[in-house]
Symmetry: D2
Subunit: 395 residues, 4 copies
Amino acid sequence: MPDRPRRICVVVASRANYARIKTVMEALRDRDDVELQVVAAASALLSRFGTAVEQMELEGFKPSATVRLIIEGENPTTMAKSTGLGLLELPTVFEMLEPDIVVTVADRFETIATAIAAAYMNLTVAHTQGGEVSGSIDESVRHAVTKLAHLHFPATALSARRVLAMGEDPATVFNLGCPSIDLVARARLGSRRALIEQLNARGTGSPIDPELPFLLMLQHPVTTEFGHSLDQINATLDALSAVGMQALVFWPNVDAGSEDVAKGIRVFRERGRDEGFHFLRHVPAETFIRLMAHCACMVGNSSAALREGAFLGTPAVNVGTRQAGRERGGNVLDVGYGPEEIAWGIREQLAHGRYERDELFGDGTAGVEIAGVLAVAEPRQQKRLCYDAAALSAE
Amino acid sequence: MPDRPRRICVVVASRANYARIKTVMEALRDRDDVELQVVAAASALLSRFGTAVEQMELEGFKPSATVRLIIEGENPTTMAKSTGLGLLELPTVFEMLEPDIVVTVADRFETIATAIAAAYMNLTVAHTQGGEVSGSIDESVRHAVTKLAHLHFPATALSARRVLAMGEDPATVFNLGCPSIDLVARARLGSRRALIEQLNARGTGSPIDPELPFLLMLQHPVTTEFGHSLDQINATLDALSAVGMQALVFWPNVDAGSEDVAKGIRVFRERGRDEGFHFLRHVPAETFIRLMAHCACMVGNSSAALREGAFLGTPAVNVGTRQAGRERGGNVLDVGYGPEEIAWGIREQLAHGRYERDELFGDGTAGVEIAGVLAVAEPRQQKRLCYDAAALSAE
Amino acid sequence: MPDRPRRICVVVASRANYARIKTVMEALRDRDDVELQVVAAASALLSRFGTAVEQMELEGFKPSATVRLIIEGENPTTMAKSTGLGLLELPTVFEMLEPDIVVTVADRFETIATAIAAAYMNLTVAHTQGGEVSGSIDESVRHAVTKLAHLHFPATALSARRVLAMGEDPATVFNLGCPSIDLVARARLGSRRALIEQLNARGTGSPIDPELPFLLMLQHPVTTEFGHSLDQINATLDALSAVGMQALVFWPNVDAGSEDVAKGIRVFRERGRDEGFHFLRHVPAETFIRLMAHCACMVGNSSAALREGAFLGTPAVNVGTRQAGRERGGNVLDVGYGPEEIAWGIREQLAHGRYERDELFGDGTAGVEIAGVLAVAEPRQQKRLCYDAAALSAE
Amino acid sequence: MPDRPRRICVVVASRANYARIKTVMEALRDRDDVELQVVAAASALLSRFGTAVEQMELEGFKPSATVRLIIEGENPTTMAKSTGLGLLELPTVFEMLEPDIVVTVADRFETIATAIAAAYMNLTVAHTQGGEVSGSIDESVRHAVTKLAHLHFPATALSARRVLAMGEDPATVFNLGCPSIDLVARARLGSRRALIEQLNARGTGSPIDPELPFLLMLQHPVTTEFGHSLDQINATLDALSAVGMQALVFWPNVDAGSEDVAKGIRVFRERGRDEGFHFLRHVPAETFIRLMAHCACMVGNSSAALREGAFLGTPAVNVGTRQAGRERGGNVLDVGYGPEEIAWGIREQLAHGRYERDELFGDGTAGVEIAGVLAVAEPRQQKRLCYDAAALSAE
């Protein structure tokens, strides 16, 4: 072992990544036995996704390196190629930084570049949010990263059981909850009026009336249903129109198909159907949590509705297949892609109102606990599928 | 479904790949309902690895595209970067070829580029040799590719059970044996004299005396033990010297560390210790099978000793961790990296002589059967981890 | 020479590229002795730049290959890296297409990737618009491409003399005018009312009153003044406000700094200063020509003001250094970056009104003539600096 | 200007690069007003080209970054792609190192990646050995780099005049000689016996008899004559055989076609025609200089015969087109590719014996003088073609 603090390198590849690893980064930074390295990559660097890197720097996480890898186009081809670009560049960065452990977050397409680069270079790979089930290419990415990672931090007990079932060594699987819940647990929710006025001053479209209830809409493309994203966003926007409640609408992420989602929103606006709608590109994670706490209902297919929403008790209408199979609390109502069922779901949830807190994804202590494991876990390189051959044979 | 023969694209990334998928390619070519596309990539294009692509063309498989991706240096960094280069290029190729199914073979580091590119582009990914267990980075690559693949062709019953245990849908797992055994089963072994004389005319070093028994040595670097490859090859060469039997020695593959293996062999020669040793870069798969049939004992860490060796009953001394955990027949004796134990193992195997045939990895019909499945299997995009939640909870 | 029509591959990397090579492509397509190949690359594929590739297909130029190479970020770093990505991909494309001659257009940053790839692969490289002088990195790119190209089609007599002065072989330099003028010469200018109504139905902001004169504004970043683009666009927008005439404003291209230009325009709009301004992303080249014919004055730093503007006699105010040194007709008034001088310039030009036609950049026959040379020119690989050593010594 | 020593980054991409810039690096390192940064790239990192980076480290130049970019295959396609890989990676490195000036050496294919990356990133680019004339793709690369560079250090007066004739600003062109001559001027030539015995202990083939004269052969592929390299090397080897003098033969560089040159040498050896030939991969520059001083005649197409050879007065037979047009002293006899004319040339030169010193390429002070300019030259970004328009028009 080198005679220096252990170097732990967190690769932050998007705004969402940052929200889901930030309390781990804080805890690592606070430890004496660890040197935290931060690499900002992919959409975390792009202004149309809110330049998460700037917020990271404001909050004290200056990146040791930045890796620009998003090739414009946002279709399945560029999604693969952008990952390839990351895989070309990250080894150079890891060679310069010489980390002991590399942390990769969740299941976005470019996540796997981090996992491959680090694993091939015989660095110990740590992975959060393994073992979950969803739709989109994320489902494949997530489990492939599990098979490349040496340390696993699944967010729920069921996810942990799945990681073990996939043949990971029990000594490497730590069920400590999701760091994203830490942010929720410590959030100051503040007043709805202050929050809404702040956001009305940003974005475009109609201002939201802070005295009246509002919907919160966020819908990403499903990469495995590429070519259908435009129809899908149109249906959801139609449903919102039909329900008639004012709504805050976010632009989508950088997955294949997001250009179609954006187009749907643009056309909706250009046709003048956007009365009562306010459009935002991105807000800090803490602001989004406050929106989830104050909105009447979430609509779309963001995993936040299932994850942070469970803890907050936010009524949510989950549209389509993107979250299919993912664990969720009682706050989520699943519907298909039809505008009528989406509208029905929203009305059901509005009638129900807020739900009880559900600590399915953690209780707010994950960051410190994960950092504690990362600081002392034995380094690993060679993996080995961990099955009892006799048990397998008996099946 | 498009109104044309199904397009099945096989990506051949090395000489070994070709040997392990060739009978599938033959069977696909012979079908009317399939259009076979071949992509030659990575070390399959390089002359120091025998330009496998030339042999493929001779045997009627002209590539639709070639992808040069090996970045010189052969260390963990370039291994990751070469994979990234493949992942940048393969999407362009798949866009031009528009295959329905992409076939990726086994577990070499660049294999995952094929799997990622195809999966991200919503093509159906088929994978052979999943579910095996070994050392080196191959172990991680193999299982990660399983999690990206939609159709699985494991080579043994136990491998198939492992693929299922990892959560793959039983409808997508086909236990049909390994196509590499097809080549063994149909091989004409011929006379030792003819074989040896042919090889004496190639390569360098002492000619092999065709009247006397000979050892067959092939040792690759273990990527997860990068930095130890030189010591490891030196120990094996010392053992060969100690045993004193003439030996055919092959140069290693392109994994990180292969430069060190090659250096060990070069220094061994330059020090004049190579009396009785003949050195070869590569031979066609059929020739290698004949060598395995005629040699007195194999030494090193090639998976061929375990796989083709089981069917042929070739006595084999398996050195170190590269094949750790992989299924093998009774023909294999495992030893560590010490020269004494390697020499002991060789002497034990020479005393034993050849073994009975073991059809653990198949009986010679895999190629046709796998092609049959590929021709008619339902296309798939969206994967889903396939576990019974109740069963998981009960554990 | 191969016994088949000569293959000429035109790489179109942007909407502007297309406008400046289209009549050459038409003429090549009409010839029996030539097979035209089209590669669409870079911003020609991106929807926020109008997906020029779709217009190309509508007009009968289906690309043989597409190369996505723009890495998001639009700063000097990504500009270099995007060029690198093109240089990684184009060789694969040229290997598949096997052209005899590759045509690269003008001086955008990614142009050099085409020139290098083709020259290194011993293909004959043809270049249009060499020998001009301007600011920005284009100045360096243009002359470097000249040194890599084998056939030169400068757009003016002075440019041709400069290409010769740089040491190019006189047998390879053809002064035939600029194909962009062909489009101008054959354009049907139509009525201002029809044109304006068509554009009012697109874009955003205030509609233009077709009965009143309007300004046409297009300002790109200067890459060698990266970091100043925001101030520069703000000054021009301030000048437009001060003049008070309604204006059509175009969004900028993809050079480093364009994000800052776009930001300036966005903030201008969000501050509600955009009364009387209509914003457009892009229009077909023919529509832009009609706008130049009908506007009261052009403002900004587009080369169109100098080039097509000379032929059309459009009064133009050229801001800053981007076109510094470029040939221009009498229709252009140069000003610096200050809002007052820009406003002064606009008022001067409005007072003057339209100018006489100037055929400095050609008379409308360049496309057919360049195609004629490409069809029969001797293929070349080895270049040689063409100076009279005695003359040099005498200097 | 930043308040710190000026950062000057030298990119060393090959063993030959190093020899031709080393005294500049030494002089920069010795200055207080400069921080020297070294980037090792391309074949400078590869063991089969002698891992120049190891020698650099031994001599006190530890690289700040290493860039692996050579894609295996050595044909025109990989030559272009390797350059693209460099252009993808170097911007990341320059972002991390933040140099003020980037120095690129001579004219090898990957040199242009350094020039483009730095120029696009608005760094000041300095270039050595511009303005020379030769064959191969180097001819195009060299002049294209001149058009991207801001500071020029041509090696001869004629080269300087050519750089000026190409339109470079006279204030940026410095005729200070070639740093490679510095090494020659300070070399201790030692005894032939010691030198030969040292080299006999390395390499392969027959030892050289130190009492007898020997030829020194080094022949690289001509990229623009790709496909002819095998015939060309065969002819030269035949000529050496015909002359019958013992010879030291070096393996070729990494240009497209070098695999064919290597193959020619290998086959020559395998056919047992190599009696009296000793083969070497590479030696330090100082050792090569000593070889040039002690050999009876150089044969091949290395530029060293023209450059260092002029100063040393080494009789040289220059074969084929690779150096066509390059300045040379009286020590060089040009011949074509035929074995008879090569043999004739060797015999002529052996009859003549050594030549007088010619300081055409410098007198041994270039390194210090170039470093002096680099330390104080005004930074530049925007270039401008520097011609007197009136003078051009008058031609």
